[in-house]
């Protein structure tokens, strides 16, 4: 049973995942065991195959979507039973104000969820105030700010400045990313980390989560 779930995740078969998990739960399977012995091995294997260049990013993303589907079924079951799956951390992500580009941010959000983060995706064109409100409400471990234009990059700096003003800066790590963003820029504006692409974002996020 667990092997079938693992295979369905690895193959990005979210319909298959849905059926298998529903059937397993109906047969009395433990939801935590389904996650730990079925789902996690599938997404971890997908990650390993990607690192080994045996599968491509679109296939990894599909596996991530299948993992999201699995968790969307299993999380409510866990909650009902007063159980929790282990999360690497809570991650708020969004594209800054004035910027309507979100495909990179969406890929990062998907891969983070698949990697075990609880992700709160604020969407695109998110005002500085909305980011700060979300930090207050959600108390995340990491805040990820995406910008694709040189004219909107400055908003990443604004968000960090407001977090400092509100005394929130030390409560979380801030990551920045997006095509025109560089490590120099990240350092200049006081971000904790920068990632060049989606895969590096996940690596960096995991590293930040382990340190805090």
């Amino acid at each position: 049973m667990f092997e079938n779930v693992t295979r369905a995740i690895l193959e990005g078969d979210d319909e298959g995942v849905e059926k298998l998990i529903a059937s397993a739960l109906a047969d009395g399977a433990d939801p935590l065991e389904l996650i730990n012995k079925g789902c996690l091995p599938g997404i971890e294997k997908a990650g390993d195959l990607f690192e080994a260049e045996e599968i491509y990013l679109p296939e990894l993303i599909l596996a991530g979507e299948a993992m999201k589907k699995a968790m969307s079924i299993l999380e409510p079951v866990l909650k009902e039973r007063d159980l929790k799956s282990e999360k690497l951390g809570k991650y708020i992500i969004g594209t800054v104000e004035g910027d309507m580009h979100d495909i990179g941010k969406n890929i990062v959000a998907s891969l983070l969820t698949a990697s075990g983060f609880e992700v709160v995706d604020l969407g695109l064109n998110v005002s500085t105030e909305s980011f700060v409100e979300a930090v207050k409400k959600e108390s995340p471990d990491i805040l990820g700010l995406s910008a694709l234009l040189t004219t909107t990059m400055a908003k990443q700096k604004d968000v960090i400045e407001v977090l400092i003003e509100e005394g929130l800066r030390d409560s979380l790590k801030v990551m920045v990313g997006g095509a025109p963003v560089t490590a120099n820029w990240a350092e200049k504006i006081g971000a904790d980390a920068y990632a060049e692409d989606a895969i590096e974002s996940v690596r960096v996020a995991k590293s930040l989560a382990q340190k805090s």
Binding site: E53, Y56, L57, P58, I61, M100, H101, I103, G104, I107, T150, T151, A154, A179, P180, T182, D197, A198, I199
Partner: protein, 478 residues
């Protein structure tokens, strides 16, 4: 006869056109601007919130309004005026790439943020290169306030090059002030409309989205008859279907939507069909400029543009690599030759690095050199009585030869490419075959020779600066 890369059949072109019409009618576009939604509504489009669905009749009407007259891109130096007629007869007019916030310093090779001084240097170098037909302000003056970058780019470009300038425009205010500056140089808006000194790149956001600033910029520019190149950048597999036909259909839909907006505002406003279509890179999902599908998609877009009889800018060939030896350089040349065989009207790509996020004067020189060599593959050969040479063939007869014939002596310099394939045309030869050193030395030499003073009269420079100050107050609200 001429080399022309076409890979869509007539029926496939029709299928893509019909697919685009269906996308616009059924899926629609999202428009984040109330004034532009009203423009569409008043023209008969169906509005559902901020989704605009364009009935085929409205789009067809817009296509009918495409003028038969040739679009002319004006230039301060009339020698560089460009007539955008049927490009199947000539190679694309070529420009540097853009619009990059970083550059690689010519002296140190280090990557840094770009400044107004960098833009002036690029303009000076491009002014001196015959291979450059028009000018994208390739680097962003990041030393300016963000909201003034596009306006400053146009102003600096117009000061330092006599060639047509094609700049980016992403807000209505920027559009108005860009028009004001250019009109001041031309002697008024009517003169500007007849021979626009600038045209604008205003890009929809693929898939099918028009941000507020872009939508309003397109409307403002069209209202004054300024040519707009509404550049879609569909990435097959991420922002467009992974199938090339699906990418073409989606891209074409965005172009038709842009055309409809332009023609709803001003029936006589010119439009340039604009696209940079490419596949995703499958390990990172980033843009894949090096993909073989890029020139294929360029050719498809060029065919669609010709189908509508629109001028196009669809064939950029960002090489983004300094060749290490003559063989590697020849690969660059062949890539340019292949892409240019799509016969896009315009192409903007010289000097691009790192997926156009960075720019480099050295790379610009290498790209210009590749462009000059690529002309070897892009000639036009007349088929007529003289060139068929039947009398001569009969005279030579079976087993004869043509070497000592007057016909050969008369025509060989025109028919054959005489440049040694790797011998530099533009670059200074002193460091051959070290292309990087040749490129740097040539760029430095051009900058040493080229005046860094504006090309315009002092009075005109003062007027541009006065307008910039006024614009700054308006745009920055101070």
């Amino acid at each position: 006869m001429k080399s022309l890369l076409q890979f869509l059949s007539d029926s496939e072109i029709e299928m893509i056109h019909n697919a685009s019409m269906s996308i616009l009618n059924k899926t629609g576009i999202r428009v984040h601007s109330e004034p532009v939604l009203k423009i569409f509504a008043a023209s008969g489009a169906k509005i559902e919130g901020n989704i605009v669905k364009l009935p085929p009749a409205l789009v067809a009407e817009s296509i009918e309004k495409i003028a038969e007259e040739t679009v002319v891109l004006g230039a301060a130096n009339p020698q560089w005026e460009l007539e955008l007629n049927d490009q199947s007869d000539r190679i694309p007019y070529t420009s540097p790439s853009g619009y990059s916030p970083y550059c690689f310093d010519l002296k140190t090779g280090q990557k840094r943020e770009t400044t107004s001084a960098d833009l002036v240097d690029f303009a000076r170098v491009c002014e001196a290169l015959d291979v450059v037909d028009f000018f994208w302000p390739i680097v962003v003056p990041t030393d300016q306030p963000g909201k003034l970058e596009e306006l400053t780019s146009l102003a600096l470009a117009l000061k330092h090059t006599g060639k047509h300038v094609q700049c980016s425009c992403t807000t209505e205010k920027t559009a108005r002030w860009q028009i004001e500056i250019a009109a001041a140089l031309c002697g008024g808006e009517e003169a500007l409309k007849r021979k626009p000194l600038f045209s604008a790149i205003a890009a929809p956001l693929t898939p099918l989205t028009f941000e507020r600033g872009t939508a309003e910029a397109i409307a403002t520019l069209a209202g004054k008859g300024i040519p707009v190149a509404t550049m879609s950048v569909p990435v097959a597999g991420s922002t467009a279907p992974v199938t090339l036909a699906g990418t073409l259909a989606l891209c074409n839909a965005e172009q038709l939507a842009s055309l409809t907006l332009i023609k709803c505002v001003n029936a006589s406003a010119p439009m340039i069909y604009a696209a940079e279509a490419m596949p995703m890179e499958c390990k990172t999902v980033q843009l894949n400029y090096a993909a073989p599908e890029y020139p294929l998609l360029s050719a498809g877009c060029a065919q669609m543009a010709r189908f509508y009889k629109l001028p196009s800018i669809v064939s950029d060939i960002p090489l983004e690599v300094m060749p290490g030896d003559p063989l590697a350089f020849e690969r660059n040349v062949l890539k340019v030759a292949m892409s240019y065989q799509s016969r896009s009207t315009l192409a903007a790509w010289l000097g691009s690095m790192e997926l156009a996020l960075s720019a480099s004067l050295a790379q610009l020189m290498i790209d210009a050199e590749a462009c000059a060599h690529a002309r070897a593959y892009l000639g036009r050969y007349d088929v007529n009585e003289e060139s068929l040479a039947l009398d001569l063939i009969d005279k030579a007869g079976p087993g004869g030869n043509f070497l000592a014939e007057e016909h050969t002596a008369l025509h060989f310099k025109k028919e054959l490419w005489l440049n040694e394939l790797n011998k530099p045309i533009i670059l200074e030869e002193s460091h051959f075959p070290d292309y990087a050193k040749m490129a740097v030395a040539t760029a430095e030499s051009i900058l040493d020779r080229a005046d860094d003073k504006p090309l315009l009269e002092e009075e005109m420079v003062r007027e541009i600066d006065r307008i910039l100050v006024e614009a700054g107050r308006d745009i920055l609200g101070c």
